[in-house]
């Protein structure tokens, strides 16, 4: 017994010696030399002199298949290391609490040199002066190949802070059985609000819901697409609040009509999903993206078709964009910028998006879904996909708008009153 105890103690001590020493690639000390000062913006001089050193890259697990994803990253990183001679320390960071992790590390001047962000995060970080502007590193770079809507979320106040690697497009998926049940043609799907209203009325008459509405979820999936389709917007980068203009009120009215007419379920005010209704064949259409398509294909419940994003005055929808950015306190800015360029080039986007099943943000990389008709179709629609409200308060104003939308659906405010109240709440938030 004593021998076993001694052995266990030895094992524990060994583990402590190994586990308590920071390894060579540890990010724990890498910023000591720079002391957290803003690096000089380096343009051609350093690039011409060549890149060197090492960088730390933080990305997240995009799929559940870590082997395939890991092999993809190995290939992408090898192409960068071969091209530049810079060593990459790639670290996979969980999605959970990623904001706290990134912000803590950056505030402590001990973060990565390149990391992944979504449109909600980019303007917050850029506005706080935490990101490296990439424009000085992009001379001669072919940026025209990127889809215009993908670049919307990478720019804040005329400065480009990131390059996008993936995009999504949310649009309506229709249940073919329900389309037939209401006597319509699956090959001729609604393209405008007016056409959709006619289908919705028929669906209701036959005992189906027209669509899902997740009033408890993000505004990106509820109000915003209708707002953009009506020709409106929420707020500009210059803090001009637009949500209660004519187009804004029209969007509020359309949602109100859907609820009052019973085209969307009763619990839509607070619902987070209507999967059971959709999967149970009781709904004509739902808004979905590539993930929804994968889910439908894996479940094989019924035949479905995908419609282009709807149009009222504009043909627009929501679709997030994922991008890589570099922090302002990176100690190897040129190498970090180069990594962002390499990881988002056409070849690497093809590799990345083939594995993750997102849509490439470069036109030249979009041919990867040749055999997959649904994803190929969605890839076509990213040109209409806006990445949300690009503003440092984009995420924080959402609950304010949501509360007004819910109040309207409860019948306690008219669409105009709700839109005005949302505008007032936003102005209060941004201190206007």
């Amino acid at each position: 017994m004593r021998r076993i105890g001694f052995f266990l103690l030895l094992l524990l001590l060994g583990a402590l010696v190994v586990g308590c020493s920071a390894s060579d690639t540890d990010t724990g000390t890498k910023k000591e030399e720079t002391g957290g000062e803003k690096p000089e913006v380096v343009g051609e001089t350093e690039k011409e002199a060549g890149l060197s050193g090492e960088i730390t890259v933080w990305a997240h697990p995009f799929t559940g298949d870590q082997e395939t994803e890991g092999a993809m990253w190995d290939e992408v990183i090898a192409s960068y290391e071969e091209q530049t001679g810079v060593k990459v320390n790639f670290e996979q960071i969980p999605w959970a609490n990623r904001d706290q992790k990134v912000l803590t590390a950056l505030a402590a001047n001990n973060g990565p040199d390149v990391f992944y962000v979504i449109p909600d995060q980019m303007p917050q970080y850029a506005d706080a002066g935490m990101l490296l502007a990439l424009d000085p590193y992009l001379e001669g770079f072919d940026i025209d190949d990127f889809v215009d809507t993908a670049l919307v979320s990478t720019t804040w106040k005329d400065e480009l802070y990131g390059l996008p690697i993936l995009q999504e497009a949310y649009t309506y998926l229709y249940n073919v059985d329900v389309i037939k049940a209401i006597g319509e043609d699956p090959a001729n799907l609604p393209a405008t609000w007016e056409e959709f209203e006619k289908w919705a009325e028929k669906a209701k008459d036959k005992g189906f819901y027209a669509t899902s509405f997740q009033g408890g979820g993000s505004m990106n999936g509820t109000l915003y697409p209708f707002l953009w389709q009506a020709g409106g917007d929420v707020i500009t980068a210059d803090n001009e609040v637009l949500i209660n203009n004519e187009a804004g009120v029209e969007a509020f009215e359309f949602i109100n009509k859907m609820y009052k007419e019973g085209w969307i379920p009763k619990d839509s005010i607070t619902a987070l999903e209507h999967d059971a209704l959709w999967e149970g064949g009781k709904m004509l259409a739902v808004q979905g993206s590539g993930i929804s398509v994968s889910r439908m294909l894996s479940q094989d419940l019924f035949e479905f078709v995908i419609a282009p994003p709807m149009k009222n005055k504009e043909q627009l929808t929501y679709g997030t964009t994922g991008m890589f950015v570099a922090p302002i306190n990176t100690d190897n800015p040129a190498a970090a910028a180069e990594f962002i360029k390499v990881v988002t080039n056409s070849d690497n986007q093809k590799k990345f998006n083939t594995v993750t099943q997102y849509i490439p943000t470069r036109e030249s990389a979009k041919d990867i879904f040749g055999e997959q008709k649904y994803l190929a179709q969605l890839a076509d629609y990213t040109q209409f996909a806006l990445p949300g409200v690009i503003h440092p308060e984009g995420r924080t104003i959402m609950p304010l708008i949501q509360a007004e939308l819910q109040t309207m659906m409860e019948g306690k405010k008219t669409p105009k009153e709700a839109a005005d109240a949302a505008a007032k709440a936003i102005e209060g938030k941004i201190g206007k």
Binding site: A15, C20, A22, D65, P94
Partner: protein, 268 residues
């Protein structure tokens, strides 16, 4: 009789409610599906598979994560049991100037939100070279004021006569602590250990902040790092089941002490 039957039915219903999530977790771990469904029939695996368990164990890294979890849990648990017992004894039985003030100053630390301390702690640990090491997760957890509070409350219920009798018999302070106080404090010390185990084993936030290298991850962080953006129901359930077992066993073995300690320290 009717009253008894009703209370039994109520207890059974409550028991099922509490057990259901665990049942779903265990059954789900044998299903090869990415997405969960609301249909109760879905929970029963039609073709049970070990695929999820084989996936999480695939390249040995999961074993390393378990090992890391053991290290960052066992050392703080042992240390908290010792320190909290000694400090709890001092604050409960020893008289010295400023005793109450010092104790309540310690207690006030509980009021400071962890999020407020995370950046200063990160900077400090970074200066010490503790990022991506066990130190950042072990050292701050070596003692906890909550444990001291529990032991102090428990020992305040023990009459001073026992201590005085031991003094009369010629025992010194150390002998009294180890031979009189500690044997009596086993339930509360076991409770402190159990609380510490659960909190350290299940902690995701601190490892997430202080660790970036996969080989240093504990189970919680390792599992989180395995999951794609959309998650994977089967893998999540398998990982949760494996991660849950040690906590379950600890609670099972120390259940008696745990209940007793909670009751006697007045923490109900």
């Amino acid at each position: 009789m009717l009253k008894k039957t009703i209370s039994y039915i109520a207890l059974i219903v409550l028991g099922v409610c509490f057990l259901l999530p665990f049942l779903i977790m265990i059954l789900g771990s044998f299903k090869d599906v990415q997405y969960a469904q609301l249909d109760p029939l879905f929970w029963i695996p039609d073709h049970p598979t070990m695929k999820n368990y084989l996936y999480i164990m695939r390249d040995g890294i999961f074993i390393r994560w378990i090992f890391n979890s053991v290290i960052i849990t066992v050392i703080p648990v042992a240390s908290q049991m010792i320190f909290c017992a000694v400090l709890g004894y001092i604050f409960a039985k020893k008289q010295f100037p400023g005793r109450e003030i010092i104790f309540w100053v310690f207690m006030a630390v509980i009021m400071i939100p962890q999020q407020l301390l995370i950046i200063p702690k990160f900077i400090m640990f970074s200066d010490f070279g503790w990022i991506n090491t066990y130190w950042a997760l072990i050292i701050p957890e070596l003692w906890g004021i909550m444990g001291v509070f529990l032991v102090r409350q428990f020992l305040q219920n023990i009459p001073n006569d026992l201590e005085e009798a031991a003094y009369i018999d010629g025992a010194n302070d150390i002998q009294i602590f180890f031979k009189v106080i500690l044997p009596l404090s086993i339930p509360v010390v076991a409770t402190v250990g159990t609380f510490s185990f659960i909190s350290n084993w299940n902690d995701l936030f601190q490892p997430l902040i202080y660790l970036t290298q996969e080989k240093m991850f504990p189970v919680t962080l390792g599992l989180a790092s395995m999951l794609g953006k959309e998650g994977n129901f089967g893998i999540e359930m398998a990982g949760s089941t494996v991660s849950f077992i040690p906590t379950f066993l600890i609670f099972l073995f120390f259940q008696r002490y745990f209940t007793e300690g909670i009751q006697m320290s007045g923490l109900k």
